[in-house]
């Protein structure tokens, strides 16, 4: 059996000690169970957060709810005590966690805080009947935790909560055509929030404030902006500025893909642009040609992906 590492040893690329170290791992004499334990920890955090959420939902107002809430409050306080007591000072650059489970306990503290805030609103109506303010406060708390304890996952939660405050949500009938005033509000809000997130992400990067968070802002911005523009086009018809917005946002996504050498933005941009352009072609064949020359449509679908595919194949080296 030819092992590549032995060839490297014979060719002088690695030393005998390096070869021995690699062999130790290959033969299983050294075995890391880090990813397995992290998975276990993540599952535990999810179960605990889900369980507490259901406890509050099911037992609010019942006799035993104070005990349950008391337990959750103790867990929450314990988590915060732990993460504050072990945390390093705030730094605008990336900081390392003091131990492998610190990040998970930070996530747990954030999720339990959200549960407690929900309870306060349910029981004491802390924000009156303005439920949306609860999501804004939650978003602010998540953002603080994310920046203070350098946690990318909690930043994602903060952005999701902010979108929720603005009334954005993804529903199964997202692409179901129905023109409503509410729909217009959601599409505009989605596009504006996407642009805002992209601007914030790039500005923070330029100021070198937690610049490793920028990909999170940009991922949310790309997905939110493109989805909003595309569903608006689907909802309001191709003859609207949303189809132009979808093409412009796709172009921005592809440009950013080349800039940061990330193939994901390429995937988003090219896919959405192709769907919008194809919708225009189908519209043209159906409305203008009255569906008589359907073979044109098949020819379009045969030939049309070839150009972007060739571009992708030619540009592959720029993504290495």
């Amino acid at each position: 059996m030819p092992t590549e590492e032995r060839e490297w040893l014979d060719s002088g690329f690695i030393s005998q000690e390096q070869f021995a170290a690699i062999e130790d791992i290959r033969e299983g004499r050294v075995f890391s169970i880090s990813s397995e334990l992290q998975g276990l920890l993540y599952l535990g955090v999810l179960l605990l957060a889900t369980g507490t959420g259901i406890i509050i939902y099911n037992h609010i107002g019942s006799v035993g709810h104070l005990i349950a809430i008391g337990l959750i409050a103790i867990l929450c306080a314990g988590s915060y005590w732990y993460i504050f007591s072990r945390s390093v000072d705030y730094s605008p650059s990336k900081t390392d966690d003091p131990n492998p489970y610190y990040g998970y306990l930070t996530l747990l503290a954030a999720l339990l805080s959200a549960s407690l805030l929900t309870y306060l609103q349910l029981q004491f109506e802390a924000f009156g009947d303005q439920w949306s303010w609860l999501t804004l406060v939650t978003a602010a708390l998540f953002a603080y935790i994310a920046y203070r304890f350098d946690h990318i996952g909690v930043l994602g939660l903060a952005i999701t909560s902010l979108a929720s405050f603005l009334g954005l949500r993804i529903e199964p009938d997202l692409f179901n055509p129905s023109i409503t005033l509410d729909g217009l509000y959601y599409y505009n809000t989605g596009i504006v929030l996407a642009i805002a997130l992209a601007v914030i992400g790039l500005w923070l990067k330029s100021k070198e404030i937690k610049d490793h968070f920028t990909p999170v802002y940009m991922q949310f911005a790309a997905l939110l902006g493109l989805l909003s523009a595309m569903s608006a086009t689907s909802d309001l018809g191709l003859v609207s500025w949303y189809s132009v917005a979808a093409i412009v946002l796709s172009a921005c996504s592809v440009y950013y893909a080349f800039r940061v050498k990330s193939t994901w933005y390429m995937l988003y941009g090219v896919s959405v642009a192709y769907i919008i352009v194809s919708a225009w072609v189908i519209h043209f064949c159906w409305e203008v040609l009255d569906g008589d020359n359907i073979i044109l449509l098949f020819l379009y679908f045969t030939a049309s992906p070839i150009v972007p595919l060739l571009l992708i194949l030619k540009s592959r080296r720029r993504f290495k």
Binding site: M1, P2, E4, W8, F13, I14, S15, E17, Q18, A21, I22, D24, I25, G28, R29, V30, F31, S32, I33, S34, E36, L37, Q38, G39, L40, L41, L43, G44, V45, L47, L48, A49, T50, G51, I54, I55, N58, L75, N99, P100, Y101, Y104, L108, T263, M266, L267, S271, I295, F298, L299, F301, T302, A303, S304, P305, P308, L309, I312, R316, F319
Partner: protein, 380 residues
């Protein structure tokens, strides 16, 4: 050789991938990595996951568009002989994949290659349906054989997974075609077959005889173990029985499936731990977790939020205790990261060395040396 790629091509690719792996683990530095990549140049064209997804989508649109265009143009003339043009079209698509994508452009798991050859296979399978009067057993058998051959030819894990699933469907249809109780033995028979496949692939992997197919063999073992667990999972068997055989929840030998749903993953986990086999360990662990909702749903037990929260606390505490316990490597097992930016594999190795020193004399390889970061320079 059945593979579409030469030994030299695959060998060079393995060198590059391994150099990258050890670079990530911090055992080879960037300069040495670059030297290795330069010494073993690979002309195989590979892309990242997102790019592969894009190429797959694009490739699929092109081949389907082409097929529809041709079909719309000639359908009237060929209506009575639909099987032959489908067969010829399928073969032509495969020839296109072989000549243009592999021989000329050296595509290797690029997404586009998968889109094209999968489409060719679908056409061949469709033509078999025409030639054998929609005989389901023969169609599925054809799909199994073609997928298996494609997985070996293109070294593609997706085709291998497809072949293993097709085998399961084939066995079910074959047993179903017999009268009597035979169909009830399908889950156990499949579990034995997939288990035997996993065992055989494990032996094959350890022998190193077919090193060229190393990745495919490991993937085959993984898929076989997953399918083995699915075959005996009480919820899957019960739902499948209700759907395909109208069992109405009356699952024969239910106790056996309940026992296997719990015991099989635990057995896998045990042997994974004992033999330090990551595939077995992970499938066993995930299976053990999944067995809880499986049993719960089978018996239609209500969700108890206090139990969920309690199990969550239990898992967190257990994981933290294990992380702390294995932070100093014990018997070579460690909770330190092996890959990634904060890889601490060097610490594990030092600990393993320290442990082994009690058993056999070793040279003072890592003690106080300058392995970290500059380990590849040989200054230990």
């Amino acid at each position: 050789m059945i593979s579409a790629y030469t030994i030299e091509q695959i060998s060079a690719l393995r060198h590059q991938l391994k150099a990258r792996k050890w670079l990530k683990a911090g055992l080879v530095n960037q300069d040495k990595h670059d030297l290795i990549v330069e010494a073993y140049p690979s002309n195989l064209y590979r892309v990242k996951l997102a790019m592969a997804a894009l190429l797959f989508l694009g490739g699929t649109v092109v081949v389907i568009g082409l097929q529809l265009t041709i079909a719309m143009s000639f359908l009237n003339e060929l209506e009575d002989l639909l099987g032959f043009p489908t067969l010829i079209m399928g073969l032509l698509v495969l020839v296109f994949a072989e000549w243009l994508l592999i021989r000329e452009q050296c595509h290797h798991r690029t997404g586009m290659l998968q889109a094209v050859y999968l489409h060719g296979l679908q056409l061949l399978i469709a033509s078999s349906a025409y030639f054998f009067d929609d005989n389901e057993i023969i169609v599925v058998l054809t799909a199994f054989i073609l997928s298996l051959l494609a997985s070996l030819r293109y070294m593609d894990r997706f085709a291998l997974a497809s072949a293993l699933v097709c085998f399961g469907v084939f066995v079910f249809q074959l047993f179903d075609s017999f009268d009597g109780m035979m169909v009830y033995f399908v889950p156990i028979f499949l579990a034995i077959c997939y288990g035997a496949a996993a065992f055989w692939l494990d032996r094959l992997s350890k022998s190193g005889e077919h090193w060229m197919y190393g990745d495919l063999i490991n993937a085959g073992k993984l898929f076989s173990l997953i399918l083995m667990y699915i075959s005996v999972n009480v919820l899957v068997v019960s739902s499948g029985g209700n759907l395909l055989m109208n069992l109405d929840g009356q699952l024969p030998f239910a106790w056996l499936f309940i026992a296997l749903t719990i015991l099989l993953p635990l057995t896998m986990f045990y042997f994974g731990w004992k033999n330090r086999d990551r595939i077995l360990l992970n499938i066993g662990g995930i299976g053990a977790v999944l067995s809880v909702p499986s049993i719960k749903l089978y018996f239609e037990m209500p969700t108890n939020e206090f139990v969920i929260a309690f199990v969550g606390v239990l898992l967190i505490v257990t994981a933290i205790l294990l992380i702390r316990y294995f932070s100093a490597a014990r018997n070579g097992i460690s909770s330190a990261k092996e890959q990634g930016q904060s890889s601490s594999i060097l610490k594990i190795l030092e600990a393993a060395q320290a442990f082994q020193q009690g058993e056999k004399p070793t040279t003072d390889t890592f003690g106080g040396g300058e392995f970290g970061g500059g380990g590849a320079e040989g200054k230990f």
